[in-house]
């Protein structure tokens, strides 16, 4: 029997339909097993429990009531007990609607996330807050230095400072008066380095930083500003 063109196509179509029907009957189960192995169970997200109340009281300067109140707010926002970077960026961006706060939030996240595991636990949160609100001036300055030092190597380079400064200026957004020029961040960085970099080696060490800040009255006075936040 000589199969002509159309008949060939017809028979191909029929065979195709044949396969489809057989699949419905489950005749191909053994062949498809290895493909279906990737449909694992979706494990629920990990839940993190914080350390006990007493331990946290020891580690921080907060009272029990304050810790309770903080934890209630934290747990309400993040039931899983962990804050990942995306959520953190979202939350922080809401305070600065005019500009783009994501870059600075990234730096901030790294400053809070002390064990660098990509998420902030309640302990990190509370310890950071304790330093910022109840810590001594040296501790606060140390925290700030840690923030500026992006790669945590103990030195603030001009590039790191520029990145921080640019991200801060980004938070201002476009509509400012006077408007932010492109050179503003770098000028600010230069001013900063002029003040802080004692030995003019192009980096700022922690001692230089703390020493310079302690000599500056304005900075010292403003350290008291945020004590009554909680």
């Amino acid at each position: 029997m000589v199969l002509e063109g159309m008949e060939l196509i017809a028979i191909t179509v029929v065979i195709g339909l044949f396969f489809v029907v057989f699949k419905q009957f489950g005749a191909w189960e053994p062949l498809t097993l290895d493909e279906s192995s990737d449909c694992e169970l979706e494990l629920s997200t990990v839940r993190h429990q914080p350390e006990g109340l007493e331990q946290l009281q020891v580690q921080t300067q907060f009272t029990k009531k304050e810790l309770q109140s903080l934890y209630r707010g934290f747990k309400n926002e993040c039931p899983s007990g962990l804050v990942d970077e995306e959520t953190f960026k979202n939350i922080y961006s809401q305070f600065f609607p005019q500009g783009d706060a994501t870059t600075y939030a990234h730096f901030l996240f790294n400053a809070f996330d002390m064990d660098r595991n990509g998420s902030i636990r309640f302990e990190d949160f509370v310890i950071g807050l304790s330093v910022l609100l109840r810590g001594s001036e040296t501790e606060k300055l140390r925290w700030a230095f840690n923030l500026y030092d992006i790669n945590k190597d103990g030195y603030i380079t001009k590039e790191e400072m520029l990145a921080i400064m640019t991200s801060i200026y980004d938070m201002m957004g476009r509509y400012t008066s006077p408007s932010v020029r492109d050179v503003d961040p770098s000028e600010h960085v230069d001013k900063f380095f002029q003040k802080m970099d004692r030995n003019r080696d192009g980096v700022v060490t922690i001692d230089e930083f703390i020493e310079t800040c302690q000599k500056d009255e304005n900075i010292m006075a403003s350290m008291q500003l945020f004590e009554n936040v909680i």
Partner: protein
């Protein structure tokens, strides 16, 4: 700001320490928070159900009632809690919103009740979470449709026409709502009858009748009785034209009417006749004329004025226009594909009926709609295979849009049902409102009659006063104040119309029970010039003696309406003096105080009282109660 941001505010402020070493200017002072910062548990009592929550939870949303200082208005000092007299079940959802930041819509609740609660607590409904948003929107749309129908039904014009409607308006009314008047109804049925007659005539005239003597061939009845049929046709067309012209005249907006669907149908129905009149008896043209007669069948669409179901069907088709379009499009696609395939499959067969692709269209359509006439049948194996696939897919393609069309029809049909129900309910509601209003007015008039309008003697309350609530007391006092302000009195419809009808010396009989009143009519009744003062004398005695105040008054006492009943004894209880001191600063007529006979003989009519100078009296009727026109002429 979104939910929960308030929680993170302290954190964001603390993180600002990072800017301090970089600051170019000095930092501003922070705001001083005078309130106590410690968190406390608040008690919220909603109709007895006690809720407790942290203060911080409520403070998360400062622009709501619970989050702002507005809740202090509801604070109860004794029980140290906030008391709200609202639905406790709904409050649960409100409070959950504060706790979780997401507002959920409870499905079993009425949507308007829910919205009212939200409005009370100052929460905008737009922040309903995504999970419940769809349900909420559907219900809201349904509710709005229902309300829109309500207002539409109100404006539908079932209300009676104002009496000064022009002929045009009346005519239009008769056309649109045939049940308003008998003439309209008659007209409605007559036109319906003639539509039916016309359609049937069109049908019957093509039926073969027995041939006239001498010929063998069957004639269609139209040719046998051509005179009769043309007379019938002419009559119908005349009636339709007349109707159309009347509608056109009566329509409030002729342009809109001319563009509406129904008028287009009307025109199309009668046009062929007129065109036929105009056209000459040409051979070529009469062929076209014959096709025009086809349009006569559109007269059947005129029935849609008479049938609601047809209108619903029309609405449905309109609403489902997109689905129908989709159906058409997909069918066309499938037809073209399968026709091509079948053509090439059957090309090799000898003597095949599939002579071209357009010829195969017919086969494809017949197969896809599962008609299967059998006039074109594939022979080759490929053709048969593709033909069977064609018929299977045809069923699917047609079945897909059908449920959408059906559900649209159901929805529109239910809407119509609902409109009827709404109209009936509205009628009941209006009747109830009218009754309530009348009841309130009657209660006040009754109260006046019972002597409730005494000024000043609070201790001698009449015994006949029914038990009235404090509300009623206050309401009646209010109405009394209004009367005093305007120096007119409230009466009811009956009395007013009666009084207006009679003239100055008119008299009428009244019921024997309403003895305490003197009836009369004044000439000034309907004239608006002089202020008409109607005083209701609660009792037959009119003791006005008030020193030397000479007051002239038109004592016009209203007649009690026939409907209200007063027990006989009541008049005897009204034996009190009534103080008729009046403020009549703005009165044109001076008022004479009328010294009354000291004996309170309630059942005696006034005619026996001594003649008072200046008082005109009417001739009494022979019946027990006379009305005396105590009309006192001005000094």
């Amino acid at each position: 700001m979104a939910a929960g941001v308030a929680t993170w505010m302290p954190f964001a402020r603390a993180a600002a320490v990072g800017w301090l070493p970089l600051a170019q200017k000095t930092m501003p002072k922070p705001p001083v928070d005078k309130k106590s910062r410690s968190d406390e548990i608040l008690f919220v009592n909603v109709s007895g159900l006690r809720f407790q929550t942290w203060k911080n939870t409520l403070d998360r949303y400062p622009d709501t009632l619970l989050g702002s200082s507005e809740k202090e208005f509801f604070y109860n000092e004794e029980t140290q809690e906030y008391f709200f007299d609202r639905d406790p079940e709904m409050f649960r959802h409100i409070l959950n919103f504060f706790r979780t930041g997401k507002l959920h819509y409870p499905r079993h609740e009425c949507i308007q009740a829910f919205e009212e609660e939200l409005a009370f607590y100052g929460i905008i409904p737009e922040i309903i979470g995504d999970c419940c948003m769809e349900e909420y929107r559907d219900r809201k749309k349904e509710n709005q449709e229902r309300l829109a129908e309500d207002t539409e039904a109100e404006n539908a014009g079932d209300a009676p026409l104002p009496p000064d409607a022009t002929l045009r308006e009346r005519l239009w009314r008769a056309f649109e709502n045939p049940h308003t008047s008998t003439m309209a109804l008659v007209f409605y049925y007559v036109t319906g009858f003639f539509i039916a007659v016309s359609v049937i005539a069109n049908v019957v005239e093509t039926v073969p009748c027995r041939p006239i003597k001498g010929s063998i061939k069957d004639l269609p009845c139209g040719e046998k009785f051509s005179v009769a049929f043309s007379c019938l046709d002419t009559a119908c067309v005349l009636i339709f034209s007349f109707e159309y012209l009347m509608r056109l005249y009566a329509a409030p907006s002729r342009c809109d009417f001319a563009r509406s669907v129904m008028s287009v149908i009307d025109v199309v129905a009668i046009l062929p006749f007129y065109i036929g009149l105009v056209m000459p008896e040409n051979e070529e043209v009469s062929g076209a004329f014959v096709t025009l007669r086809v349009f006569r069948v559109f007269r059947i669409f005129k029935f849609s004025r008479h049938s609601q179901g047809l209108r619903i069907l029309g609405c449905t088709l309109q609403a489902c226009a997109s689905e129908l379009g989709f159906l058409l499009f997909s069918l066309t696609m499938a037809v073209i594909i399968f026709a091509t395939v079948m053509f090439y499959a059957e090309k090799g067969t000898k003597g095949t009926t599939f002579s071209s692709i357009p010829a195969s269209f017919w086969y494809t359509i017949v197969t896809m709609t599962t008609l299967g006439y059998g006039d074109m049948v594939p022979d080759s194996i490929a053709g048969k295979i593709f033909g069977s696939i064609c018929s299977l897919s045809g069923v699917l393609v047609i079945a897909l849009p059908v449920p959408v069309i059906v559900s649209n029809f159901a929805r529109i049909y239910h809407q119509n049902q609902r409109a009827d129900k709404m109209r009936a309910q509205q009628k009941v509601r209006q009747a109830r409102i009218r009754m309530a209003k009348k009841g309130a007015t009657n209660a006040f008039l009754q109260h006046k009659e019972d002597g409730g309008l005494q000024d000043g003697d609070g201790d001698s309350t009449p015994f006949c006063v029914k038990n009235r609530s404090a509300f009623e007391h206050q309401h009646h006092h209010l109405l009394h104040c209004l009367e005093k302000t305007t120096n007119h009195e409230f009466t009811d419809e009956v009395t007013y119309s009666e009084v207006c009808v009679t003239d100055s010396v008119g008299f009428r009989t009244s019921r024997s029970t309403s003895l305490s009143s003197q009836q009369g009519a004044t000439t000034t009744c309907c004239s608006r010039r002089a202020k008409r003062r109607a005083f209701r004398l609660a009792n037959s005695t009119v003791s006005v003696s008030r020193g030397s105040v000479q007051e002239l008054d038109t004592l016009h006492v209203t007649k009690t309406p026939a409907g209200t009943q007063y027990p006989q004894s009541r008049s005897s209880l009204n034996a009190r003096t009534e103080d008729l001191k009046l403020n009549c600063d703005d009165y044109t007529a001076a008022i004479i105080s009328i010294p009354t006979p000291p004996a309170n003989t309630p059942d005696e009519s006034l005619p026996n009282s001594p003649a008072i100078p200046g008082i005109l009296r009417n001739s009494r009727s022979s019946t027990f109660n006379t009305q005396d026109t105590v009309k006192i002429s001005s000094l």
